[in-house]
């Protein structure tokens, strides 16, 4: 009986991993042209990390870094060839004007801190 339960739990866990990390997305924040979105850089994550905007809008993302890890010192928008240096206990702002529908990832150098700008 126990082996069946353990195996079923294992398979369910795999399904849960696939669902949680690849098939579902976290709550999105919508960016507008009037106010910058403030993103906290702390404990290995960007909060919020999913941001939605409209094609053609000019939006501003303000990163506030509270994480002393050197991994947190840069945010890279690889597809845009842009990066932002984040001062510890300070903030840095980037202005973006996405002109194509799609997804723009922003990450730390090692891709462990991850965020996504979804352009609709």
């Amino acid at each position: 009986m126990t082996p069946i339960i353990v195996n079923m739990l294992g398979v369910s866990l795999i399904a849960l991993i696939i669902y949680w990390f690849w098939l579902s997305t976290p709550r999105k924040i919508t960016a507008s042209e009037t106010m910058p979105i403030e993103i906290r850089v702390k404990d290995g994550v960007y909060t919020p990390s999913y941001i939605e905007t409209k094609k053609g809008d000019t939006i501003r993302l303000r990163f506030v870094r509270e994480d002393p890890s050197p991994c947190a010192e840069k945010v890279i928008f690889n597809s845009l060839n842009k990066s932002l240096e984040l001062p510890l206990n300070g903030s840095a702002e980037i202005e973006l004007h996405p002109e194509e529908v799609g997804e723009i990832d922003f990450t730390c150098e090692m891709q462990m801190y991850r965020g996504k700008l979804i352009v609709k």
Binding site: G10, I17, W22, Y46, T47, P68, S83, E85, M110, M112
Partner: protein, 742 residues
């Protein structure tokens, strides 16, 4: 969120201007308050608005503005990093204090048996101590993992937290309820959890130290910026912080001091060492009207200059920004690693579950214990950091190394392409040659001395602004010849000039000008032919209707062009010269420096087409030009090199900017690019191999064949060392040899 901005305002002359600027700033959407200080020529603005919007508003009102802001405070950053480094070591130390005695005691058989009541109490207490370690030394992993999980993300923290967390929970179950697990699986792994936490913290500290070296190039550039400068205000010289210096201020620089902001020399003269920015070893002479740039060192005289660019607008700040941006970009070679890194951690989690199930189902009596060990080891050994770091860390060091040689690489893509080049196209004027005509040779007749011919010609030419005339005047000045006044000066466009110098009738011009004035030049025919064959332009000088001498002027080849082209040949480049000049002049230059092919008489607008033609022949083409006239060709080329002399180069114009006016920069850039790409490949190979071998071994794939199951602590050490290895390998790029140079 409102923030404060400080601007320097130029062009204000009265209180009315203050009101206009204030009004313009207050009218900007989002501005809460704006006040202008007339005495300091600054504006203080508060509001939810970008600096650029404010600058645009001031400019629209008819004034000029720039942001008043110093460069980042590196010292502050270093203090913060040192604090973090020490915290990591402290955490590692505390974890080791618990883990190492347990490990040693276990190996020596000194620890009590789990199945005795006293042993059970001992292990439960050890469990609590390990929990303390997990909270104090490993708490940041657990918090990071939890926050990432909530955002549907998984990172390195997830793996470490799950690995050590599983070890602790299982060990606590064994310690609290030993009867619930089979007798062979009754083993606690508290020491593994503590030592893994110690090793990973220690590895992060080592990595941080190694990473500090990778950003030395940027630190060196930032270090060039002086913190204060001597400003002349109301006739008084005062030392001011760099942040307080505005536009159009007068500053004094004494010998040995660094220039604080970009500006124009207005009084005095000196020589300035610009090598730290351009890589050019010879100091530049600066006179009134010449530009001086921040970060360079005044060598000899004291002078006054007026600030023209401050804060983020200086050449130094732009270079720093460009290098920073370039260091953060990735070439195509790193994209695969990016794709893998993006799905890496969830994949490892799935592998860990499969490992557990495999051991549980197939491990017989050892099943549960080995399943736990193997699962923990898989989680701990997997290292997404090495994969993620492999490309950016090498780019960072490569781009930094290039910057220290005066080579500014725009992005990772340009860096990768430069390593694949097969053909280098060179513009002639200003690229192979110095781009400025100079006297190269003289021939005299009728027993007239060279100095006399030059003095007569220069006296007359001093009035003219023709580039050839300037070359003659500069040559006379270099020989310290005094120029005499000229009477009855007549200029004939495109031919020459005449006039009276010291009561003698002097004619200076080309052969046609001499013939038109019935001056016999037959005696110079042989000399003239020989000089013309070497692509020299001839200036005839006649005194009292008799030919006195020939002055040969040419655009001299840069002294190191031939050697640099030799280096390019040595690394397999085909060298083509593309120029608007006539075939004969172009070939004369090409022969002297060893160019393989000459394409002459090409209009600037057609240069791009010629580049495209070579690309169609499957060549990967670099175009080296001055960045302004050659812009279309630079854009068409696979890699465009803008070559400048000194700090006047247009930084924005090309993929790679050579601040030093030497073609060695092209060879250096290619060498750095090849070395960096090789370094990235080594790192990527190492990271892929490490993970693709390490994970199956950790899962126990060798167990059926060799009876080998990896110890989770060894996995922790390997994981901690893998990123340190990647960073250390990238650091080697700082020391690579770039090949022969003169």
């Amino acid at each position: 969120m409102a923030s404060e901005h400080r601007l320097s305002i130029a062009g204000m002359s009265c209180a009315g201007c203050v009101a206009s600027v204030e009004k313009a700033l207050q009218a900007v959407n989002g501005v809460e308050s704006a006040s202008v200080n007339f005495a300091e020529h600054t504006a203080q603005v508060r509001g939810d608005v970008t600096v650029q919007t404010l600058i645009d508003a001031v400019k629209a009102a008819g004034y000029d503005a720039a942001e008043l802001r110093g460069l980042d405070d590196e010292a502050e950053k270093e203090i913060a990093e040192l604090g973090y480094y020490r915290a990591l070591l402290r955490k590692a130390g505390v974890a080791a204090l618990v883990g190492v005695p347990l490990f040693v005691g276990g190996m020596a058989g000194l620890l009590p048996d789990l199945l005795t009541p006293a042993g059970q109490v001992f292990w439960l207490l050890i469990g609590l101590a390990t929990l303390g370690v997990l909270i104090y030394s490993g708490g940041h992993f657990f918090i990071g993992a939890w926050k990432a999980l909530r955002l549907h993300n998984a990172n390195m923290d997830t793996l470490i937290a799950l690995g050590t967390g599983t070890a602790w929970v299982y060990s606590m179950i064994v310690a609290a309820f030993p009867a619930t697990v089979p007798s062979l699986a009754q083993h606690a792994y508290f020491e593994a959890a503590a030592i893994i936490i110690a090793l990973i913290n220690f590895g992060s500290a080592l990595e941080m130290r190694a990473r500090g070296k990778t950003s030395e190039a940027i630190k060196r550039l930032i270090g060039l910026q002086p913190k204060t400068a001597r400003v002349v205000r109301d006739g008084q010289e005062i030392d001011l912080s760099i942040d307080a210096i505005g536009l159009a201020e007068t500053l004094r620089v004494r010998p040995g001091e660094r220039i604080a902001v970009d500006g124009v020399l207005i009084e005095g003269h000196s020589t300035v060492d610009e090598s730290m920015l351009t890589g050019e070893p010879l100091p530049a002479t600066k006179r009134e009207g010449d530009e001086v740039v921040a970060g360079t060192i005044n060598l000899s005289g004291t002078f006054l200059y007026q600030s023209r660019r401050i804060g983020k607008d200086t050449v130094l700040a732009q270079i720093i920004e460009m290098v920073r941006q370039a260091q953060a970009t990735k070439p195509a070679i790193g994209r695969l690693a990016d794709k893998v890194a993006a799905v890496f951690v969830p994949t490892v989690l799935i592998i860990a579950v499969i490992t557990f199930l495999a051991w549980f189902n197939l491990g017989q009596s050892l099943g549960i214990s080995y399943a736990i060990v193997a699962t923990m080891t898989v989680l701990i050994i997997a290292c997404p950091c090495a994969l993620g770091l492999a490309t950016p860390i090498s780019i960072m060091v490569g781009v930094g190394r290039a910057a220290s040689l005066g080579i500014l690489i725009r992005n990772g893509e340009a860096l990768q392409q430069a390593g694949r080049l097969t053909t280098v196209i060179l513009d002639k004027t200003g690229t192979v040659t110095q781009g400025k005509p100079a006297l190269t040779q003289m021939v005299t007749y009728e027993n007239v001395s060279e100095a006399e011919v030059l003095q007569l010609a220069a006296s007359l030419e001093a009035v003219s602004e023709h580039p050839l005339a300037q070359a003659v005047v500069e040559a006379a000045q270099a020989r310290e010849l005094s120029l005499n006044p000229v009477d009855q000066f007549i200029a004939t466009a495109g031919e020459g000039v005449s006039g009276k110098v010291l009561e003698q009738q002097i004619h200076v011009g080309n052969l046609r000008f001499m013939q038109a004035n019935r001056i016999d030049c037959d005696m110079s025919q042989v000399d003239a032919q020989a000089l013309a064959d070497k692509a020299q332009t001839l200036i005839y000088v006649a005194r009292n209707e008799k030919l006195a001498g020939l002055i040969a002027v040419a655009d001299p080849i840069k002294p190191d062009s031939a050697k640099a082209i030799q280096r390019l040949h040595a690394i397999g480049m085909k060298i083509v010269m593309l120029t608007g000049d006539n075939q004969r002049s172009a070939e004369a230059v090409a022969n002297q420096v060893g160019i393989d092919e000459v394409i002459a008489e090409v209009q600037p607008q057609d240069k791009g087409k010629k580049v495209a033609e070579l690309q169609r022949q499957n060549q990967i083409v670099a175009m080296v030009g001055d960045g302004i006239n050659d812009a279309p060709a630079l854009a068409q080329a696979d890699v465009g090199f803008a070559i400048g002399s000194g700090t006047d180069i247009a930084i924005e114009s090309a993929d790679i900017t050579l601040m030093r006016g030497s073609l060695h920069g092209v060879a250096d850039a290619i060498a750095i690019s090849r070395a960096t790409v090789r370094n990235i490949k080594q790192n990527l190979f190492g990271a892929f191999i490490y993970n693709s071998l390490g994970i199956p071994v950790a899962a126990g794939i060798l167990y059926p064949v060799m009876g080998l199951l990896l110890n989770p602590m060894i996995a922790g050490a390997a994981m901690a060392l893998s990123s340190v290895t990647v960073v250390s390998n990238a650091n080697r790029l700082r020391l690579i040899s770039l090949g022969d140079k003169p």
